[in-house]
């Protein structure tokens, strides 16, 4: 089963900025144990552009589609046998990144 694992940061209460070594070590483990599918940290939400081409022509607008205090800071995709395994890894991930984590299954 594949899970999208989102790292959630908070503008008012941001996680610490020195987490890279911890995250790298955690990634190594995810790879070694066969859970790792994909990982990526994201640029600031200011760098986002929303595109809407449902109408006559594409409309581009600056910024994230929803402005909020809490925002997506990075994602993983994991392959795990069930939610218990994913939640256990997510608990470690939250420590490694010093941020909240959302675990959501792919369909």
């Amino acid at each position: 089963m594949r899970y999208l694992v989102s790292v959630i940061d908070d503008k008012d209460d941001p996680g610490s900025t020195d987490r890279q070594p911890h995250i790298s070590a955690f990634n190594e483990r995810l790879i070694a144990d066969g859970y790792w599918v994909f990982a990526g940290g994201l640029a600031d939400t200011d760098a986002a552009t929303v595109v809407d081409n449902r109408g006559e022509r594409a409309v581009f607008s600056d910024g994230p589609f929803v402005e909020s205090k809490e925002y997506l800071a990075g994602v993983w995709v994991w392959e795990a046998p069930d939610l218990d395994v994913a939640l256990e890894l997510a608990a470690e991930a939250s420590k490694a990144c010093d941020r909240k984590i959302e675990v959501r299954p792919f369909q």
């Binding site: 089963m1 046998p81 069930d82 939610l83 218990d84 939640l87 675990v103 959501r104 299954p105 369909q107």
Partner: protein
Amino acid sequence: MSDVEEAITRVHHEEWARVVAALTRRFGDLDLAEEGAAEAFATAVERWPADGVPPNPGAWLTITATRKAIDRIRRENKRDDKHREALVAHDDDPPEPLGAIDDDRLRLIFTCCHPALAVEARLALTLRLVGGLTMPEIARAFLVAESAMGQRITRAKAKIKAARIPYRIPSAEDLPARVTGVLAVLFLVFNEGYLATGPDTDPVRHDLTAEAIRLTRLIRALLPDDGEVTGLLAQMLLTEARRAARVSASGELVALDEQDRGAWDATLIAEGHGLVRERLAAAAAGVAPGRYQVLAAINAVHTSARDIRDTDWSQVLALYDRLVRLDPSPIVALNRAIAVAELDGPEVALAAVDRLEDRLADYHAFHATRADLLRRLGRSGQSRTAYDRAIGLAGNTAETAYLTRRRDQLR
């Protein structure tokens, strides 16, 4: 009730969870398991009065439920569900040995009480899939519309499937935390039954307290060495034992100090005391008791006193001191203050209670306790204000009636 009806009710209590659990393991699908079990019991209601109760009702129900589930898979196969098709191919599996089926019920309980589900969903799923209560019964229990309760259960089952919440007994490492989660669900069911919320419901809901006790007994049978399971069962039994004395003929809550102790259920008390003694022996052997065991021990002290004046308050306070260390919640501190009042007087207790105001200002029992202490100190005006606050916040009809009388007796 006829003999057959009685047998069906008893078998429903005894076998429902087993049937749902066996089908869930077999088909890996809670929906299918629940529907199959419900259809099997409906068939029993139809057939048993004419055919008689089968010699092994549990096996009859499991086989019937499995057939119903397979019928359903076949019907729904038009929707091209290859996974279910594959399951039908294993039609001739031998029945599982009894031990494995017991483990299945435990799996079912852990799945229903999974921490990834909302608390309300855990309560509803446990009552439906483990307890076998119907949707209208559960909706009534929590005073929500049947459609809303149905949605809650459907959503929870969909999450279990979509997120792949496992159907498994947690690892030894996770087990204590997960058992704690299951006990919390059962305690919530019990407490809602013992002090039911809402203007249109009975003040004490025996159906809920009985169900919580029945399920806790089941968990104890499955996990006999878990001290907290035993502790919670004892706590429930010793509370349930006082049920008949707890509401007066006029529908008013009767406080512990005014209860007719002769109306307490001696059998339940004896059973509860036996369980507490079992845990005391374990504690003496060095196993530190958890919060339910300490709660049960406090309850045992109260139920050992033939008269309120015989209550060993210093023992109660010592146990509360222990409980505060295990559970630093302000509600425990509030209950501790009640014991303090008996030993050190209402003034000392009131000071302790007032320190909890920040955290308990919206809790009716905080104001009710303050009101009683202020009354005992002769501070009638303040007591009346506190009773008013308590009455405004209380959700239980019998408790409102009790508080109103106490307020109106103030001079």
